[in-house]
């Protein structure tokens, strides 16, 4: 169970002015469930995703997040990853000089170590990686390049999905993984996420659009605006948003 209770988060900009971003988020995701968070730009969706993954730029002012009965916010990013949390980044970082395959293998073996599993050697890892690359539609040459170095927007997203497929996390957060993707890539993301769907896995999809949800059917859809979840419903809520936009919810709440 992932449980977010009354989470308040702010950030300091370059001028050291504190800006409140999340203003009391409540969210529960049970094992096996797929949740989608939709909302306009600046509503706090990506902040929520990054706070869950442990990015340090944020100030947590109030609230708690428990993940399988543990205080998630007290853990370092790598400890969260070891517990099974995975964030597919909206803007994956380029790391020149660090070989992509070396990075993937180091990450997998770090997680295996936590589970008391022996590390995969280079040969075993290579055959695993090749199989997964086929699934995400990345050419094998991407293994020998620097991490995301010179990758196109779509290739970066595929590399994120590749990491998800290799690391097999138990809590997946997709932060606008669909943005900037063509139809084929979108289908690939859908296929890969669906292949991981299972009784023990939680998935949180952060998106602007309903498109990706055509491929990954969510159990619950939330609408976020102004740092709060304003409305939750089933997948029909996503369709409704696509037709009516976000404005009606905000007016519905205020009225």
């Amino acid at each position: 169970m992932l449980s977010i209770k009354n989470l308040h988060v702010s950030i300091q900009d370059e001028k050291l002015i504190t800006k409140s971003i999340l203003r009391g988020v409540n969210l529960d995701i049970k094992p096996g469930e797929v949740h989608a968070i939709m909302g306009p730009n600046g509503s706090g969706k990506s902040t929520l995703a990054n706070v869950l993954a442990g990015r340090e730029d944020y100030q947590i002012n109030e609230g708690a997040v428990s993940f399988d009965h543990e205080d998630l916010l007290s853990l370092s990013p790598e400890e969260r990853a070891a517990k099974g949390l995975f964030l597919a980044f909206q803007y994956p970082t380029e790391i020149p000089g660090v070989n992509n395959m070396y990075f993937l293998r180091t990450a997998l073996n770090a997680l295996r170590k936590q589970k008391n599993l022996p590390p995969l050697d280079a040969a075993d890892f290579l055959s695993l990686a090749k199989a997964k690359m086929k699934e995400v539609g990345l050419d094998e040459t991407f293994l020998s390049r620097g991490v995301n170095e010179g990758f196109s927007g779509g290739e970066k997203k595929r590399n994120e999905v590749l990491q998800m497929m290799i690391l097999e996390p138990s809590f997946i957060i997709l932060d606008e993984t669909d943005s900037g993707l063509d139809i084929d890539s979108l289908q690939m993301v859908g296929r890969c996420v669906n292949s991981l769907r299972g009784a023990n896995r939680r998935i949180l999809i952060v998106t602007h659009y309903q498109r990706l949800l055509d491929y990954i059917q969510p159990d619950v859809v939330h609408v976020m605006a102004n740092g709060k979840i304003l409305k939750s419903g089933d997948k029909n809520l996503a369709h409704e948003l696509e037709v009516k936009g976000y404005g009606w919810i905000e007016s519905e709440i205020t009225s």
């Binding site: 993954a53 442990g54 990015r55 340090e56 370092s76 990013p77 790598e78 969260r80 990853a81 070891a82 995975f86 964030l87 980044f89 994956p92 970082t93 380029e94 790391i95 020149p96 000089g97 660090v98 070396y102 990075f103 180091t106 990450a107 770090a110 997680l111 936590q114 620097g146 991490v147 990491q163 690391l167």
Partner: protein, 427 residues
């Protein structure tokens, strides 16, 4: 008014220059001239542009003596530890600045590679060396080496010889006293020959000697040389190296310098691209992990002929209160048209006390020239660090991965895997 120059204590103690048996008359004279220069000019000060960031005051009160250590027993274990693993490299051992054929793989040398002590080379063909020594620039430490050197390594590769075996030049300091070691090396590469040389600097003990090396490289027409330098002196030592490169038509010289050792380290490279289409790529990587550790690369490339190319690419990681200096001087003669030159220097600072100084000097007299230069100083990329951590990689390891990634641009220049592994060992 008379100027009184600072003369270090140890130079007062060394009362006469070290003259070994019978050296040619010209050499004796030039040694005396160098000695005279040392007495008259005094230690360089920070008022001189060339030494603007270099503080030699720590050298003033040392008690250096000249190296006396001649005991070579018990060295074979250390030498085998220092050998390049999984490599057919030919190891040539220099102990306290003196080439030791008996400890070296001289039997493995092909006929095309002639190796001897510099003293023997001087006896055999003094004129040959006289021509080499002309290329030295008159700077304090080069003059100091010239006045005091007795020996070093002489290596000559015959025309057309394509060497399959790298040459491992292993310099070991065994002295336990603080001493001054002044070896002089000469590498002459014949026409269209190809050779790879790894210059390795190691020490047996942790004391504060001054290793003051001068190396001459001459590449004849079409010659190709890869030089990998691995400076792993002990943490108390000072290392000063001058390299003088003389590059003829269509020759190619490539340097990768890896420096981690010594409390003080400075490399002055002077490369003259004298022949048409000669090229020279000088690169280096340094990691400073000690407080007050200092590393300095003073690189000077002179394009004297047309169609010549050059590159300087130096990168370093600085921790604690360490300091790094890079000075890249590029000179293009008026007649040296169609020249391509690139220089870059990048630093990663891990501590707020670390300092990096980077200075390009471009003097270009030709008009058809492409020259670019760039320098950056920064910290570890927080986004990249978070990215690695978010995949389960511990912060400490994530930092190491990023630092290794930073070095990769330099390391990838070493294509031979055994030599690469040997160079990486010290990082």
């Amino acid at each position: 008014m008379m100027t009184i120059h600072a003369r270090p204590l140890w130079l007062r103690d060394i009362t006469e220059i070290n003259v070994n048996a019978a050296i040619p008359d010209w050499l004796l004279k030039s040694k005396l001239r160098s000695w005279d220069y040392l007495i008259k000019s005094g230690m360089p000060t920070r008022k001189q542009e060339r030494f603007k960031y270099t503080d030699f005051s720590f050298l003033m009160n040392k008690q250096y003596s000249l190296s006396q250590q001649k005991d070579l027993t018990k060295l074979s274990d250390f030498i085998s530890k220092c050998r390049i693993k999984h490599s057919n490299a030919i190891c040539l051992v220099i102990v306290n600045g003196v080439f030791q054929p008996a400890l070296s793989d001289v039997a493995q040398l092909p006929d095309a590679i002639k190796v001897m002590t510099l003293a023997d080379a001087l006896a055999q063909d003094p004129e040959l060396l006289q021509q080499q020594f002309v290329n030295a620039a008159p700077t304090y430490f080069a003059e100091l080496n010239h006045a005091l050197f007795i020996d070093g390594l002489f290596l000559q590769v015959a025309d057309l010889y394509q060497s399959e075996q790298p040459i491992h030049v292993l310099s070991i300091i065994t002295e336990q006293n603080d001493c001054l070691i002044s070896p002089r090396h000469v590498f002459m590469i014949g026409k269209h020959a190809n050779v790879t040389i790894l210059e390795d600097y190691e020490a047996l003990h942790a004391n504060s000697y001054l290793h003051n090396v001068v190396t001459h490289w001459e590449l004849q027409e079409g010659a190709v040389a890869q030089c990998y330098k691995r400076q792993h002196e002990n943490t108390q030592a000072s290392h000063y190296a001058h390299s003088f490169l003389d590059l003829r038509e269509s020759s190619q010289f490539e340097l990768v310098n890896m420096t981690t050792g010594g409390i003080f380290s400075r490399d002055d490279v002077l490369a003259r691209l004298r022949g048409v289409s000669a090229s020279c790529s000088l690169s280096g990587f340094y990691t400073l992990k000690q407080a007050s550790q200092y590393v300095d690369h003073h690189i000077e490339i002179i394009h004297q002929a047309k169609n010549t190319n050059s590159e300087m690419m130096y990168k370093g990681i600085l921790d604690h209160s360490s300091r790094a200096v890079f000075n890249g001087r590029l000179h293009v003669d008026q007649d040296a048209q169609r020249v391509n030159a690139y220089q870059a220097n990048h630093h990663l600072l891990l501590s707020s006390e670390a300092e990096a100084y980077s200075k390009p000097e471009l003097e270009i007299y030709a008009d058809d020239v492409k020259c670019k230069h760039g320098a950056t100083t920064g910290q570890l990329d927080e986004n990249a660090l978070f990215y690695l951590q978010s995949r389960g990689i511990e912060k400490k390891q994530a930092k190491e991965i990023l630092m290794q990634g930073f070095a990769e641009e330099i390391l990838k220049r070493i294509s031979n895997p055994s030599l690469l592994a040997h160079m990486q060992e010290i990082l």
